[in-house]
């Protein structure tokens, strides 16, 4: 074989995932696995999931049919087989369906069933799983070339509403720690929510990038609402981890470093707001944006100051305040008021 070509190919051994992704994914993966526990498997194999669903839904009919089997066995068995196989098959394939597909309604229905049946311990993880699905569906709809832009925007708006609901439910679980069986579980949920928040923010930014000037006000507002909800869940997750750092097995230094990282990320956003303010032509919008940037900056400075004193909870509160100011500014810009000069999404 040609050694020169092989040597060239072997250059690609350098292809690796980024270290940050590797570490983050490890954390998310292990949090998900731990959160699943030994009771039930969230994303169990499609066949096991399908069977559990079919059994719970059709258990009465199943028992009745077994009795009838002894009277008219062959006909009944054949009819039942066809019925059960077609229903199971439909359910099975519905799980990968996308908005607009014939089986999408079944997918959503099955999610409702799962939500109703899940234990409080597993509820948050299920919400995150569904949020993942919504983001995936948003991506699929965005990529469909044959769909008209207005129709795409409408579908995506609906999906964003659903995703917002999922994020809000995750936040509620983190707020209501008593609903979860152990502190360890709530910490696992918090870590998972933290890891996912970054991904969702990026994905929502990509959705907005298809309409950077926010021509579609409704969609821009929905994206903003979803982002605000993601940030709220993320902030709550950070609060939980700070509060339960011993259970999270984090040292003071690690907690401090994590908060500092969030402060740095938010500082980057504040800088973007300042640059945006400088570039606006409308004086009212300029003043408003600059004022928001100043307030957000002030909150961040306060966060840094209390962090130095190891007052972690206060630092998280100030950080949250800064993020809320930026989110609120974006929301106002997305409000659809023609007089309001649009500022591009800074995420």
């Amino acid at each position: 074989m040609d050694k020169r070509v092989i040597k060239q190919i072997q250059l690609l051994k350098s292809i690796q995932p980024s270290r940050e992704w590797s570490v983050q994914t490890r954390d998310v993966l292990f949090s998900q696995i731990r959160a699943q526990g030994k009771v039930g498997v969230q994303k169990s194999s499609k066949i096991a999931c399908t069977w559990a669903y079919a059994r719970s839904t059709f258990s009465t009919a199943y028992q009745y049919s077994i009795g009838l089997l002894f009277e008219r066995p062959l006909a009944l068995a054949s009819a039942l087989s066809v019925f059960v196989i077609s229903v199971l098959g439909a359910f099975f394939y519905s799980q990968t369906s996308m908005p607009g597909d014939a089986l999408y309604a079944m997918k959503r229905t099955s999610e409702g069933v799962r939500t109703a049946l899940v234990s409080p311990d597993d509820r948050a993880q299920l919400e995150i799983e569904f949020a993942d699905r919504r983001m995936e569906e948003i991506r699929a709809v965005s990529e469909k070339k044959e769909t008209a832009p207005e129709e795409k925007a409408k579908s995506i708006s609906g999906l964003l509403d659903n995703a917002s609901e999922n994020f809000t439910n995750v936040k509620k679980t983190l707020e209501d720690a008593k609903s979860v069986s152990t502190p360890k579980k709530i910490v696992d949920i918090a870590k998972l929510a933290q890891a996912k928040a970054g991904q969702y923010e990026k994905a929502l930014g990509q959705v907005q990038s298809a309409d950077p000037d926010r021509q579609n006000a409704v969609l821009a507002q929905k994206i903003n609402t979803a982002l605000t909800d993601v940030h709220a869940a993320e902030s709550k997750a950070l609060e939980v981890i700070v509060d339960k750092k011993d259970i999270a097995q984090m040292s003071d230094d690690e907690v401090k470093s994590q908060i500092a990282q969030y402060i740095t990320q938010t500082q980057e956003k504040v800088e973007k707001v300042k640059v945006t303010a400088a570039g606006l032509t409308d004086e009212t919008a300029k003043a408003k944006t600059a004022s928001a940037a100043d307030s957000a900056q002030k909150a961040l400075e306060e966060a840094k100051a209390v962090l130095e004193k190891n007052e972690y909870k206060s630092a998280v509160a100030k950080l949250d305040e800064s993020k809320k100011i930026i989110d609120s500014l974006q929301a106002q810009s997305a409000s659809g008021d023609p007089a309001q000069e649009k500022i591009k999404l800074i995420y």
């Binding site: 190919i9 350098s14 690796q16 993966l29 731990r34 498997v41």
Partner: protein, 187 residues
């Protein structure tokens, strides 16, 4: 032979521990295989994010299958097979092809031994080879990645792709020949 037996026994111990729900036993599996799985699916998928997603899903699915006590001969083959199936599902649900991708930046391992100019040259050479590999049939690309990049023996590759070692060797030769042709055309 001793080395192979030791590796096999260690794997069986890990599998046993994982089947009993010992999450810590999964750590070494992730740590050892995640880069290899990533590299394997990276050249099969349109974007880096897709490769990241499929890699993460591979390990999640692997854990679930282990908990379901599905029979597993070797962890390596098991992971690659899950990754392959996920890639197939990926294209089935999206209806796009590998060719319909945008240019994307290769992420390379930290190479502190190289100057900036050398890194730029490396990236450029890598992009050329990557582009050539993406033009191959999936069967050729797969065996090349598994054998030359992930350093699996032909027997191990054969097990993963479900062919005989002889057929795998033929695929490898043809794949290299095709890559050579593509690289030659570009010059």
């Amino acid at each position: 032979m001793r080395k192979i037996m030791k590796k096999f026994l260690n794997e069986q111990i890990l599998l046993y521990k994982m089947r009993t729900g010992d999450v810590n036993a999964f750590g070494p599996v992730y740590d050892f295989y995640h880069e290899k799985i990533y590299r394997f699916v990276y050249l099969k998928l349109p974007t880096r994010q897709d490769a990241e997603d499929i890699t993460a899903d591979t390990f999640l699915k692997a854990w679930q299958y282990i908990q379901e006590k599905k029979p597993i001969h070797t962890i390596q083959a098991f992971l690659y097979q899950i990754a392959r199936n996920l890639v197939v599902d990926f294209y089935r649900t999206r209806g796009i092809t590998l060719e319909s991708i945008d240019e994307r930046e290769i992420v390379i391992a930290d190479r502190t031994d190289l100057t900036l100019e050398e890194k730029m040259t490396l990236k450029s050479d890598m992009q050329e080879v990557e582009s050539a590999l993406r033009k191959l049939k999936d069967a050729y690309r797969e065996v090349i990645v598994l054998h030359f990049l992930n350093e699996l023996s032909l027997k191990e590759v054969a097990r993963i792709i479900g062919r005989s070692p002889g057929a795998t060797r033929v695929l490898l030769h043809r794949g290299i020949k095709t890559v050579k042709g593509i690289l030659g055309e570009g010059r």
